[in-house]
């Protein structure tokens, strides 16, 4: 469904992403892991269009996204969250979802009703998402007043507000405890249950090994392995990539 073809991004002499090819299948939860600085976040930014690739292509169902602007990619069905949460703190929770309604179907609404109708933040679709994210009671609270966990949930809900086909989660467990990780795993499964394909970029090994269908491993910008969680755990290249960090290595073995 989402395909990266020989994708590269060079910053000057640094090859942040180097000739990465991947295919993510419809409906799966795909994990993208790798040590710090291995190019995971850059890959997300290439898929969403924050960066333009040096070479290679990003394809979604046969459509070439590479030259599309970010808002066009959203209309095609790509959505994301950020490693360091980026909410609109000056808007209410409901308004955060309201402004994010930029999906393909939503774009077809009449210009005037789409932009200049008051009270749209009280729509049924927004209520449904708030319910899904357990934020309904906070709907009129400014996003800046939420707790950390609520902010994470709101950001994921905001990404879902455009009815995406594929959701890119950039380290959603960053700053969360292990118990939070369990809850997060449930949420990600629930997202999958809505028919959304998930690309999960993560450090927390237990989370990745526990819920993903397949995993790709990046190191120094290049892909060094791809397979099911079980295959990845057995892979020697992956082990040596993580060797610099003994802790991670043990984590990998036990997960």
């Amino acid at each position: 469904m989402l395909t990266l073809e020989n994708l590269s991004k060079h910053f000057g002499g640094v090859r942040a992403v180097d000739d990465v090819s991947l295919t993510i299948r419809e409906g799966e939860i795909f994990g993208l892991i790798g040590p710090n600085g291995s190019g995971k976040s850059t890959t997300v930014n290439l898929i969403t269009g924050l960066y333009a690739p040096t070479t290679g292509r990003v394809m979604l169902d046969g459509y070439d996204l590479t030259t599309m602007a970010q808002h066009e990619r959203t209309a095609m069905g790509v959505a994301r969250t950020f490693q360091n949460i980026r909410l609109f703190g000056n808007l209410t929770v409901a308004e955060n979802l309201w402004v994010a309604q930029n999906g393909h179907e939503q774009r077809r609404a009449h210009f005037l009703s789409r932009w200049f109708r008051a009270g749209g933040e009280r729509g049924a679709d927004i209520d449904e998402l708030l319910e899904f994210s357990r934020l309904l009671s906070k709907r009129d609270v400014p996003a800046s007043a939420l707790s950390f966990g609520e902010m994470r949930r709101l950001e994921m809900a905001r990404a879902l507000a455009s009815n995406p086909r594929v959701l890119l989660l950039d380290e959603p467990a960053a700053g969360a405890s292990l118990e939070d990780g369990q809850l997060l795993a449930e949420r990600i499964r629930a997202v999958q249950g809505r028919g959304v394909t998930v690309l999960l970029i993560e450090h927390m090994m237990e989370l990745v090994m526990g819920i993903t269908d397949r995993i790709a491993v990046l190191n120094f910008g290049g892909k060094i392995a791809e397979g099911t969680p079980a295959e990845i755990q057995r892979n020697d290249d992956v082990r040596s990539a993580y060797l610099g960090s003994k802790h991670k290595n043990e984590e990998l073995a036990h997960a």
């Binding site: 969403t48 924050l50 602007a69 970010q70 808002h71 990619r73 959203t74 209309a75 959505a79 994301r80 950020f82 949460i85 980026r86 909410l87 609109f88 703190g89 000056n90 808007l91 209410t92 308004e95 955060n96 309201w98 402004v99 994010a100 309604q101 930029n102 999906g103 789409r114 932009w115 200049f116 109708r117 008051a118 009270g119 749209g120 933040e121 009129d140 609270v141 400014p142 800046s144 007043a145 939420l146 707790s147 950390f148 609520e150 902010m151 905001r158 990404a159 507000a161 455009s162 700053g175």
Partner: protein
């Protein structure tokens, strides 16, 4: 009495000028081009009535549209840059407009006299109101009808998705892009709306003073345009209105007894105000139909997030 009507007229046109910058500021951009759009509106409307005998209402709207079109055309290249770059780019545009009017001579004969912009001397005899027997209170009412319409429209917009989108872009451009907002379209849209409002303000201004010249539309006026909404706070259109009343009413007129010293106080009070109320006199929390929106009661979340 006439003095107070004159004062009300100044409040009105300056409120329009400030509101034109307010729309653009909501998207987080400081535009120093508003005085330029105001000048374009002033010259365009002046030309429409004084040179071609148009009625005032269509002339004002026409001037607004001309300014809006130019704002839109300028917005596309200018809004590719932001922050300080945008400040200087828009400043350059504003000064360019001013210098073009400084050099513009375009006069036609009407009733045996030449009317129209005449270079450094400016554009004299924009005498639609006196020629058509308008009383000063009628002119003042007309200005305030436009102010009320613009304020109502902006207030309405702030309750719609468009308003929320402008604020979203102003808060975090990267996040706004990631949720599928077309930044260029949003910013150019705001700039175009700002151009329209500034054009209306300028056209009314030209008709109240009957004589305009390039020097009025300089950097100082551009600075005032952005100062009103920042000083008043970006929470709602009323912030801009309050700031205009504060600056033009209290400082310029109210402190008249202080003579020349009041202009000293003027800058000093802005400095003090920004130190005490950095988010503006009325703050930047958006005002909603149900009254003042709840403020975040505490911020434990932020500490946790660090």
């Amino acid at each position: 009495m006439d003095f107070y009507f004159g004062l009300l007229q100044i409040f009105g046109v300056h409120t329009l000028l400030g509101l034109s910058a307010y729309v653009v500021l909501l998207t987080g951009q400081v535009s120093m081009a508003q005085a330029g759009f105001y000048a374009i509106g002033a010259y365009a409307a002046g030309a429409a009535t004084a040179m071609f005998g148009m009625h005032i209402i269509p002339a004002v709207l026409l001037a607004g549209l001309v300014s809006a079109a130019i704002a839109c055309a300028v917005g596309f290249p200018a809004l590719r840059v932001k922050g300080l770059m945008l400040v200087v780019a828009t400043l350059a545009f504003g000064e360019m407009v001013r210098m073009i009017f400084f050099n513009l001579t375009w006069q036609v004969e009407r009733d045996g006299a030449l009317v129209g912009p005449n270079g450094a001397e400016g554009f004299r005899a924009i005498r639609y109101f006196p020629e058509n027997g308008w009383e000063i209170w009628q002119v003042t009412t007309l200005i305030w009808i436009f102010v009320a319409l613009v304020m109502a429209a902006l207030w309405w917009m702030d309750r719609t998705r468009a308003g929320a989108v402008l604020r979203a872009v102003g808060h975090d451009e990267v996040a706004a892009q990631s949720i599928g907002l077309n930044l260029t379209a949003v910013k150019v849209g705001a700039m175009t709306a700002g151009g329209f409002i500034a054009g209306i303000g300028g056209s009314l201004y030209a008709h109240t003073v009957t004589h305009i010249e390039h020097g009025i539309f300089g950097v100082l006026l551009a600075t005032f345009a952005v100062a009103y909404p920042i000083l008043g706070g970006l929470g709602s259109v009323f912030g801009t209105l309050i700031a205009v009343l504060f600056i033009q009413g209290f400082l310029v007129e109210g402190l008249r007894f202080m003579g020349d010293w009041r202009s000293l106080l003027f800058g000093a009070l802005i400095v003090v105000a920004m130190n005490l109320r950095p988010k503006g006199l009325l703050g930047d929390t958006p005002l909603r139909l149900g009254g003042l929106r709840r403020k975040p009661s505490s911020t434990p979340a932020l500490q946790e997030a660090d």
